[in-house]
């Protein structure tokens, strides 16, 4: 039976990047504008917070411990012991408009994250790949707002949304090199009010995309056809991951203060929701190998 609960009552200005770490059995997520990284156990206890110096778009745990965070100007390390942040790679040197946004680790341990126009207007964003040797590669350009990168179970397809264009793309993804091949439109949200935000792929290979400004989870089959739509209590839902001991709970972030100032009056806007009873499991998120 489907059950939706408020998992974390704290109202994030822009909750993003939920990530369940199988090894630690802990949930991580962000408030992009706090800016901060949060973590807690499966029951929501043992909360930890790391404050960051700049807006943060995404986070990946490292195999060696700590995390990589996508800050405004590039990829940084975050030391969980000390809270220290150190620059790894600058992504848009000298440019003010783009900031790094959503990202995810591929099935081989590379970190793929894209940038977005702060003003969400012009295609100044880039999709990057950070390899375990910390080298930085450009996968695509001309993006207004990077969101929802995620991989098919076999790792050979990279799904990726340009939110502003209301499009989710599918790239063929070379699991050996981490390079992308042809890009096709996986699906569009043209007939819908909302925009594609964060996304994840479940164990059956179906894509779960969060429709922001419409408050819904949309599950697409691998051909891009809608399989299920789940409505959430707030309009400002932002991202999703599967977690919990059985990887069968969908954790969904939301925002209390979206850029257009709408919806912030919703009582639970900015909370983290846990959706139980979907009857679907996620896949373990790999850690970044660098």
């Amino acid at each position: 039976m489907l059950r939706i609960e408020v998992f974390s009552e704290d109202r994030n200005q822009l909750g993003e990047g939920p990530l369940w770490d199988v090894e630690e059995q802990r949930l991580y997520w962000l408030d992009s504008y706090a800016p901060a990284v949060y973590s807690c156990d499966a029951k929501g206890n043992d909360r930890k917070t790391w404050n960051l110096p700049e807006p943060v778009g995404s986070l990946a745990l490292r195999e060696q411990g700590g995390a990589v965070v996508s800050l405004r100007n590039g990829f940084h390390t975050l030391d969980f012991e000390t809270g220290a942040v150190g620059l790894l790679r600058e992504t848009h040197p000298g440019e003010l408009r783009p900031r790094l946004n959503d990202g995810k680790v591929d099935r081989q341990g590379r970190f793929v994250a894209g940038s977005m126009d702060f003003e969400e207007r012009d295609p100044v964003g880039t999709l990057f790949r950070l390899d375990p040797d910390l080298s930085l590669h450009t996968l695509d350009t001309g993006i207004i707002c990077s969101n929802g990168p995620c991989f098919s179970p076999d790792g050979s397809t990279l799904y990726f949304a340009d939110s502003h264009k209301k499009v989710i793309y599918a790239y063929s993804y070379d699991t050996t090199t981490g390079n992308v091949g042809s890009r096709r439109v996986f699906t569009t949200l043209d007939s819908l009010r909302g925009y594609p935000d964060g996304a994840t792929v479940d164990a059956e290979g179906y894509v779960w995309s969060v429709e922001v400004y419409s408050g819904r989870l949309i599950r697409f089959d691998p051909s891009g056809v809608i399989d299920r739509i789940i409505g959430l209590p707030v309009q400002s839902t932002t991202s999703i991951t599967f977690g919990g001991p059985e990887l069968d709970i969908a954790f969904v972030t939301s925002m209390a203060r979206p850029f257009n100032n709408q919806y912030h009056r919703e009582r639970e806007a900015g909370c983290m929701f846990a959706v139980h009873g979907l009857g679907v499991r996620g896949l373990p998120e790999p850690r970044f190998k660098g």
Binding site: L2, D190, S191, L192, R193, I226, I229
Partner: protein, 292 residues
């Protein structure tokens, strides 16, 4: 008999389930959020079109590539391919407190829909007919909340409810002209527990099924208006009803997640779901498309 959730979309105000025999697809709407949904009989392959206003009802056009939709501000045509809307006519340009509500297609392909007072208090609504040439005609007025238009299997009787009147009415229906006459009481609906007649459909045996919102009941009336059976639903705020599926023997029931009238309590985790009732051994009648 078995009741299941077939689609767990939480429609704020689910309404207007409509089974299209040719496409073998179920359509339904979210009146408050302004959305049109479509799915297979078992709730898969979902499509969704968002519209920019409250929507009261819809019917497929004859070519199946679009629909006539009753939006808050007038009848429109919706193109399924592009999502574009084109205004046919706003019959109530001066009544900003009204919106067009429930509607259905008669046996000849005309679309009949009525309006409602959004405060559900004044008799400001009217009943309209949209002909295949897209002309709009007023059939009746003085209605608070239009709901549940539907026809007897031979098309000669037109059933219709003003939800808060405590009655479902029946009119004689002139199939040549699409005009109604001789309105009388078909049956009384018990409103003592706060419920009211919402969406209706007529089955192949000529019995009328009515969803009784806030009461959580689906009631089957015999053609003489007496109650044949009552089905208790898992939620109180059931809104409308339609037969569908490959054999037209699945009953689809819509519901609402958020009551527009706050005096009625919530329905818990099942709120706003689309339900099926199966195993009754009763069949519906195929719904005609709008001939325009």
């Amino acid at each position: 008999m078995k009741i299941d959730v077939v689609v767990d979309v939480k429609t704020t105000l689910g309404e207007g389930p409509l089974w299209d025999v040719e496409q073998q697809r179920l359509y339904w709407i979210d009146s408050f959020d302004g959305r049109v949904f479509r799915a297979t009989a078992d709730g898969r392959e979902i499509r969704c079109w968002d519209v920019p206003m409250k929507i009261g009802s819809m019917a497929l056009r004859k070519d199946g590539n679009g629909a006539i939709v009753s939006l808050a501000r007038g009848f429109h045509l919706l193109d399924f391919k592009t999502g574009d809307l084109e205004l046919i006519h706003d019959p109530e340009p001066d009544k900003s407190g009204n919106r067009i509500n429930d509607g259905k297609v008669d046996k000849q392909g005309r679309f009949i829909a009525g309006s409602m007072d959004m405060m559900e208090s004044g008799p400001n609504g009217a009943l309209y007919r949209v002909d295949p040439d897209l002309s709009v005609h007023k059939l009746d007025d003085g209605i608070i909340v239009s709901n549940g238009p539907c026809w007897s299997p031979d098309g000669s009787l037109f059933y219709f409810a003003d939800s808060w009147s405590g009655e479902i009415w029946v009119y004689d229906y002139d199939q040549a002209t699409g005009n109604v006459s001789n309105r009388r009481t078909f049956t009384k609906v018990d409103t003592s527990t706060g419920g009211a007649a919402d969406g209706s459909t007529v089955d192949a045996e000529g019995c009328l099924w009515n969803a009784q919102v806030y009461n959580g009941k689906v009631v089957r009336y015999r053609p003489d208006g007496t109650v044949d059976r009552i089905i208790d639903m898992p939620v109180k705020k059931v809104t409308s009803i339609m037969f569908g599926g490959p054999d037209l023997d699945i009953i689809y029931v819509t519901s609402m997640a958020k009551p527009p009238l706050p005096k009625f309590p919530g329905d818990g985790v099942l709120r706003g779901s689309l339900f099926t009732i199966t195993g009754l051994g009763i069949k519906g009648v195929s719904e005609p498309r709008f001939a325009g």
